[in-house]
């Protein structure tokens, strides 16, 4: 949560000074920003002082708004973030890695994150593990380190959503994140449900239809659709392209994980597989106790 009441009050200048920087990530969300068709219009509302991906100048020391991509994985990141939080009036976490740990956080997934991290380092660097990236820490989202005013999830982010949130930030309007899982959106775009299709395709009685159906949701049938518990807001993009939901927007606040797991079990699928698929983007929130507390609150 932010430590000020009206974010707009200090973003009073017509064109606030903005920086875009990246921690541990593949820069995909920054690339998405450059894919935004109305980028130039967006730029007219801000003074873009630094954008790690496209501006070669040094990062300035004063700015109003910091947009940060990627997960926190080193002590250097910790120091940088503390500095940014002190300077910037408003901080936006850009993308799943920054907002919820995302894929980098997998390196700390499990009951003992520190050990897991060292295991991962040994797997990747072998004998050099002790000498390389000595300042590494268990990967975590920005929100674990500093207060964040706005978060944009998605892997990668939707530039349209970025544009909206940027406007919220400039005006100091409160963000209204979606809380419910994806399924309703699938109905709205009238996509046949992944689970229904899979069930029909597995039915020997309709072999003829099977070829047609298997084309509907490409990719492995072993991977369950995570839309049951994943935060909506993407417009069911993957499903509309014939792929099951991979959960990149994180576990929805309203999600009922227990009931979803029961459903998976009733489908004859493995709950472990479901959880493993969910952990790809959501390992950090699955590790934290917050999630379990929450399911009781809304139960």
């Amino acid at each position: 949560m932010s430590d000020f009441e009206h974010p707009a009050s200090s973003l009073a200048s017509d064109r606030p000074k903005v920086i875009v920087l990246s921690l541990a990530s593949d820069f995909g969300c920054q690339v998405q920003l450059s894919n935004f068709p109305y980028l130039l219009e967006s730029l007219s509302t801000i003074d873009l002082a630094y954008w790690q991906l496209v501006i070669s100048a040094d990062m300035p020391t004063d700015y109003d708004l910091a947009i940060i991509e990627g997960a926190v994985t080193t002590t250097k990141h910790l120091k940088l973030l503390k500095e940014v939080r002190k300077t910037a009036h408003t901080v936006i976490a850009l993308g799943t890695c920054a907002a919820m740990g995302g894929i980098p956080a997998l390196a700390g997934h499990g009951p003992s994150p520190e050990e897991r991290l060292e295991d991962c380092a040994r797997t990747v660097y072998g004998d050099y593990a002790a000498r390389i990236a000595q300042n590494r820490i268990v990967p975590r989202p920005l929100t674990d380190v500093i207060s964040v005013d706005y978060s944009i999830v998605g892997c990668p982010i939707d530039p349209e959503e970025f544009s909206s949130v940027l406007q919220y930030a400039l005006l100091g309007v409160k963000e209204r994140p979606e809380r419910e899982p994806l399924c309703a959106q699938c109905k709205i775009i009238e996509a046949p449900c992944f689970y229904t299709v899979q069930k029909l395709a597995a039915d020997d009685a309709c072999q003829e239809e099977n070829n047609k159906l298997s084309g509907l949701y490409r990719g492995s049938t072993d991977i369950p659709c995570l839309g049951l518990v994943t935060r909506t807001g993407c417009g069911a993009l993957c499903i509309s392209r014939g792929r099951p939901c991979t959960g990149c927007r994180g576990i929805a606040q309203d999600a009922n994980l227990e009931s979803a797991r029961n459903f998976i079990r009733e489908q004859g699928r493995s709950v472990e597989e479901f959880d493993r698929a969910l952990a790809i983007y959501c390992s950090h929130s699955m590790n934290s106790a917050v999630l379990n507390d929450h399911s009781q609150v809304s139960g």
């Binding site: 935004f36 109305y38 980028l39 219009e41 967006s42 007219s44 509302t45 544009s163 909206s164 406007q167 400039l170 005006l171 209204r176 809380r179 419910e180 899982p181 994806l182 399924c183 309703a184 959106q185 699938c186 109905k187 709205i188 009238e190 996509a191 046949p192 449900c193 689970y195 229904t196 299709v197 029909l200 239809e209 047609k212 159906l213 509907l216 049951l228 518990v229 929805a252 606040q253 309203d254 999600a255 009922n256 227990e258 009931s259 979803a260 029961n262 459903f263 609150v297 809304s298 139960g299």
Partner: protein
């Protein structure tokens, strides 16, 4: 009402007539293993044998998202607030869905007239079609298995021909101009009666509707009953999205990239979302899933019933197909009707899932 008989192939002529007179012809077409109402280019895409569709055709009257106006934040001007006028013919609406439109009419054309709904309603020509109940269709419990108004034209399938019911002047004009129609003979009427009997006999399950509103009120505080469904609910709102008579919407503003201009739009909302009942100071008057599911069905079976004498459910079965965890009107009704003594006698955990029996 004027009745005519047409051959099955005459649907192609009807389709041609509709295309010449309306901007868009919509009807059910196949989409993978499901059916959807969509804009049709050719009569061959039309699948009048569909069981049900993912979304109901009421989406043409209350769209999933709809522009209300555009505005300029700086000058305070608003513009583009006129409803979009597309003249549309919808072919193939089942009686339950036409009944749903009549229910929506009472809401959107009642005390307050919703200009967007009214415009869509006015510019739409409705052709209904007869159906056969399959699993999950419980329209017979709500009296929505028959329809006698709310359409322009209705096609009753008599195997090799259709019995046409014409209710409006444009419908009659269409029939006169495009269709080779004859007057019904005694045989046609006999066949119609036989079909009606077959239709009524095809319902394999009818929920017990006795004193339902009263029962609902009496069991409103039955914690176990609502906890059972609340524990199952995935909170996804898919049931509300596919419901032809769920009409709640949210109004939002979205600023363009320039930050100067923006769009005010409305989009479907659902009382199953935790945000739905959240008010100032983050107070939520329906904080649990159980309270939200209880509220949703209360509105359907009691709220609207005590106001307008009609339940807000047409028994179309869409929510039964959409819900992954079997929260259906049939299950709720079954749970409400189950006697306290039976419940205590039953081994296992409480309420039997009512439509397991189907």
């Amino acid at each position: 009402m004027i009745y005519k008989i047409i051959a099955k192939q005459a649907i192609e002529d009807l389709f041609k007539g509709l295309q010449e007179n309306y901007d868009e012809v919509a009807g059910p077409r196949a989409c993978g293993p499901a059916f959807v109402f969509d804009k049709l280019q050719h009569a061959c895409e039309l699948r009048l044998d569909y069981e049900s569709t993912i979304l109901p055709p009421t989406k043409y009257f209350l769209a999933p998202t709809e522009r209300l106006m555009r505005f300029n934040r700086v000058t305070g001007e608003s513009y583009d607030s006129e409803p979009v006028q597309t003249s549309r013919a919808i072919i193939g609406m089942h009686p339950c869905d036409i009944n749903a439109v009549l229910l929506l009419d009472e809401i959107f054309l009642g005390d307050f007239i919703d200009p967007h709904y009214a415009a869509a309603r006015k510019s739409t020509f409705i052709i209904g079609t007869s159906c056969m109940p399959t699993v999950g269709h419980i329209c017979n419990a709500f009296g929505t298995d028959e329809i006698h108004r709310g359409f322009d034209l209705f096609l009753t399938d008599l195997d090799d021909r259709y019995l046409l019911s014409c209710r409006s002047v444009p419908a009659l004009e269409l029939v006169d101009k495009y269709l080779a129609a004859s007057d019904p003979t005694a045989k046609d009427i006999d066949d119609f009666q036989e079909r009606t009997k077959r239709f009524k006999d095809a319902f394999t399950f009818t929920p017990n509707m006795d004193q339902l509103p009263l029962l609902y009120g009496a069991k409103y505080n039955d914690e176990q009953l609502w906890k059972d469904v609340g524990d199952d609910c995935l909170c996804c709102g898919a049931c509300a999205a596919v419901c032809p008579v769920c009409y709640c919407f949210d109004v939002c503003d979205k600023l363009d990239a320039s930050g100067q201009t923006g769009l005010r739009y409305r989009s479907w909302d659902s009382c199953l979302k935790s945000e739905f009942a959240e008010v100032a100071h983050n107070h939520n008057f329906r904080p649990t899933r159980a309270s939200r599911v209880r509220y949703r069905f209360y509105h359907k079976f009691v709220g609207n019933f005590s106001r307008q004498g009609k339940m807000l459910c047409v028994g179309c079965g869409r929510c039964m197909r959409a819900c992954k965890v079997n929260i259906t009107p049939a299950r709720i009704i079954g749970a409400l009707q189950q006697s306290q003594i039976d419940k205590e006698d039953a081994t296992g955990d409480g309420i039997e899932k009512a439509d397991d029996a189907e």
